[in-house]
């Protein structure tokens, strides 16, 4: 079970650090129930120094952010420590968030990813992470998905929709995107890691990302 549970599905996921104009292409947003503060409300609360706002944001998104950290550093204890650091940074850096430029979830995801990749590099854990990945081939790249079912989609589970979008990509495209996004590898590093020509890596990245982006746009139009 996740610490996020239902509340995480009721927030208003949003975009980001360099960030996105509100309402442009937010596919993850779910309107909060009446009386429930939106993600932006919580960010404003944090900016005002309200610890309870951070507590609610933690309950809403710690599960997602920990999953992201785990996907990058592959160590549960380190992931917990980093999760704490991330939320401390959210608290300390909240002043840098602007709802005009983007939305809270995207901002938090970008911040979290950067921290996790930095941690991975600082600890020179690339080699160990690769070993773990190789020892768990069944998680690459299929662990990305969540065994999406039609029921998940009809119930409006945005997480399932995101997984479905990514699962729809050819595995070769999933692989390069996984290495770029979750391992922070450059195109050249991916080419070296996979023995795939650099041009092919670039093409797969471009095609895969475009498909995901276009799918997100379609979902935004439909939802």
């Amino acid at each position: 079970m996740s610490s996020v549970a239902d509340p995480s599905l009721k927030g208003t996921p949003t975009s980001d650090v360099e960030t996105a104009p509100s309402g442009k292409l937010s596919v993850s947003a779910v309107e909060p129930q009446p009386g429930t503060p939106t993600d932006v409300d919580l960010m404003i609360g944090i900016q005002a120094g309200d610890p309870d706002a951070l507590s609610q944001l933690y309950d809403r998104y710690s599960g997602i952010l920990k999953a992201l950290i785990l996907r990058i550093i592959h160590n549960d204890t380190e992931a917990d420590d980093l999760l704490q650091e991330v939320f401390m940074e959210i608290w300390n850096q909240a002043k840098n968030f602007s709802a005009q430029k983007g939305k809270p979830l995207g901002w938090m995801v970008t911040l979290t990813r950067r921290r996790a990749i930095d941690a991975l590099r600082k600890k020179q854990a690339y080699a160990r992470a690769e070993e773990r990945l190789q020892a768990e081939p069944e998680q690459q790249p299929l662990a990305w998905g969540q065994n999406t079912t039609a029921e998940d989609i009809t119930s409006g589970d945005r997480r399932a929709l995101m997984a479905k979008v990514i699962q729809s990509l050819p595995e070769a495209q999933q692989q390069v995107i996984d290495l770029a996004f979750f391992q922070g590898m450059s195109q050249r590093e991916i080419a070296a890691h996979t023995n795939i020509p650099l041009g092919t890596v670039k093409t797969r990245l471009e095609l895969g990302l475009k498909k995901i982006y276009d799918s997100l746009k379609e979902l935004k139009d439909e939802l």
């Binding site: 980001d16 596919v27 993850s28 710690s62 920990k66 992201l68 909240a94 995101m162 982006y213």
Partner: protein, 86 residues
């Protein structure tokens, strides 16, 4: 660089996958296309949300939140809460 090429590069940019030489071309095109470029780059960050949301949420240690909130409340009581937005 055409705008379509810029869009392809923007999607790579937001996940940090542009090579240094590509980054220079991208930044030049970003300036060239101005506001439209900025809007597109911002929209591309929704990819981050999508990737994160595609993962199965993980359970954090119960002690983490307790520790976090203790630190935050302590700072808050000392009047060292986060700076307000401008």
């Amino acid at each position: 660089m055409s705008f379509e090429e810029f869009q392809n590069s923007a999607r790579l940019y937001v996940i940090g996958a542009l090579e240094p030489d590509e980054l220079q071309d991208f930044e030049a095109a970003r300036k060239q296309y101005g506001a439209a470029a900025e809007e597109f780059v911002n929209q591309c960050y929704t990819l981050h949300e999508a990737f994160a949301l595609s993962l199965k949420p993980a359970q954090a240690s119960a002690a983490i939140k307790d520790r976090l909130m203790a630190m935050v409340r302590e700072r808050s009581e000392r009047g060292r809460g986060p700076a307000r937005a401008n």
